[in-house]
Symmetry: C2
Subunit: 413 residues, 2 copies
Amino acid sequence: MNAEIIAIGSEMLSGERVDTNSLYLTRELNKLGVEVVTKCVIGDDRDRLSAQVRQSMGRSAILILSGGLGPTEDDVTRDAVAQALDRKLIFDTGIADWLAQRFAAAKRKMAEVNKRQAYVIQGADVLSNDRGTAPGQWLEESGAVAILLPGPPHELKSMFERHCLPRLARIVPKQAIRTLFLRVAGMGESDLDQLIAPVYKKYENPVTTILAAAGDIQIHLRARCSTEAEAEALLAEVGGPVELLLGDRIYSRNGDPLEVVVGELLRAMHATVSVAESATGGMLGERFTSVPGSSEYFTGGFITYNNAMKMELLGVSPETLAEHGAVSKETAEAMALGARRRTNSTYALSITGAAGPESGDEKVPKGTMYVGVADAAGTTSLRRQFLGDRQRVRTFAVQMALDLLRRRITGRP
Amino acid sequence: MNAEIIAIGSEMLSGERVDTNSLYLTRELNKLGVEVVTKCVIGDDRDRLSAQVRQSMGRSAILILSGGLGPTEDDVTRDAVAQALDRKLIFDTGIADWLAQRFAAAKRKMAEVNKRQAYVIQGADVLSNDRGTAPGQWLEESGAVAILLPGPPHELKSMFERHCLPRLARIVPKQAIRTLFLRVAGMGESDLDQLIAPVYKKYENPVTTILAAAGDIQIHLRARCSTEAEAEALLAEVGGPVELLLGDRIYSRNGDPLEVVVGELLRAMHATVSVAESATGGMLGERFTSVPGSSEYFTGGFITYNNAMKMELLGVSPETLAEHGAVSKETAEAMALGARRRTNSTYALSITGAAGPESGDEKVPKGTMYVGVADAAGTTSLRRQFLGDRQRVRTFAVQMALDLLRRRITGRP
């Protein structure tokens, strides 16, 4: 079963803004087993919208429209859909009364234009709005469904969940859908794909989606079958080998990001961590402390952006810096050691590198990052060279540091 | 003059990805004075795309298509546009030779499928691709233009700039467009709008766009006239009063973010800065060091996430913490003072606060942030309470700290 989505509003046709409601709607439709085949953004233009509605309803079983249900002249969705289907708009006194009550309760005067929101397309069911003043509408025509939803995301989501998901579930052919969601660190996208493609490429079902960010890959497998047992068996058949191939590079099976996973490990062990950052300038600390409650295990850290700071704040020796340079295994390890000693934390992580665009030389090319970890058992470090701009290289290094700690805590090489 | 944009590719119909080429194209078209009235994402389906092309070319002067020009069966754009306009596809030996040379130069064997990329729609001009293997196409039909561009953003941008902008400039009615771009800190969106709306609301031209992020508002004014002098005069007429009303809350007129503006002030004064961060955990340091070359003025910092670290690393006294609490004016100022003393920097900034969701109490409600600054002249601080989730509150505080330093350096209250 196919769906189309139309977002209405000239403000989404600028060079700065995108329609995000369609992402939420797509995820929900996919979960039901419905594929989105076209999506559009149309300005506040009745004729253009009307033509698009006619075209979409002629070829797809479900059409969802978001926005354009407000009280002003710019809000053309009701009119355009009525025109597309050649139906009348009918004044609904029930909605008008409800609107009047809402305004009275808020001790505000209802402007005359608000009555526009009480018009319903002939034959449509009204969908109540518990977050705003624009009611939605649900209507059917020659076997296709059109759903009119308000544009503000929190209004749209609430209405879609309360009214539309249950009704759609009755229309959509019964399917059982099971999803496997893995997050992987410490691997490039192409290496990962080369490793697991031989497994998942053989299957159109489950559908495999791979999303790669710097040092962080998400893998979604979505199996659709007629029974739950079949979907689970299918997911096991494909997901099992994928999990086996990736092994301990999988850090999360519930969507949690790496800083949450590492934080939970630290909390479970009643351990603490501190950081010493050069090239990343605080980004690793920022990641740790983005998690509410991280004060339980994150003690603090040092941003040592130049050599003087590395010596003064962390006790890195002038000889280490002179002999090996600021971007070196020795400096990374001395930084971790210094941070651990000065904060008394169980673990300390360090990052030093040449993030670019101007840093870097022959010995230490641009993109080279060292990550160090220190604990009671000793100190170790890793070196990697990353491609990309400054922010991307720094994000890679932070992910690498978090993953190094995850492996250290769980005793993986 | 109106334009429509169609992005082709099933991968942009998932719940995670959006088409971003259309944002770039919209900005460029707007600069020419062309408005985008509809944009669509269509999967790899020839008939659906063909119908959309016919509809769009029937009502808009410019249609830009991105993607679907690759060599595989999934790449349907050439076929769909030919079908929509009832034209033939013609094998272009020039393109075929160029493709063969490209592969030979890279010492790769050209697969037979790549020859698909040598087909040109009857009557179309070929647009060369200097970044990839898919040539673009430019064709006209009954006064409307269709432009086929490759999907990868760097290929699309290069081709659009080199081939399309000059040609479009010849087609589009001559207009002079002038833009004023302001960035503002230290004001909420609604306060700002209340202040300047009485000025800009009177004008449909220039078009005013306001984009708000946490603690950072961008204002664009775009004037379109038949001559440059008119456009400049109009922009001065509206932009002048807007600038006057906002005064020194405007920190940038060229798009530079606040960390770049502050960095340039520091560099110009041969001054340095250090940071002491509690609630933001490194986010302020990360912002400073996101700028290439920031090592010239950013010395380093301290992430003191608990009281012990505030005492040990920054020398905040136990009495200050006991008497006033970690989230207080006194602690913020002691942190800044400590950071300055221990790093010998010209300026030091500090941040302490209750970012939520669980922190905060009656005396210090959730969202309360203190920002301190220390220099040779003394120490001062500001308190604000921000609304929003943890990340938003932290971003507000970082912006507030950067703006406090900007004002301190430039001697503004």
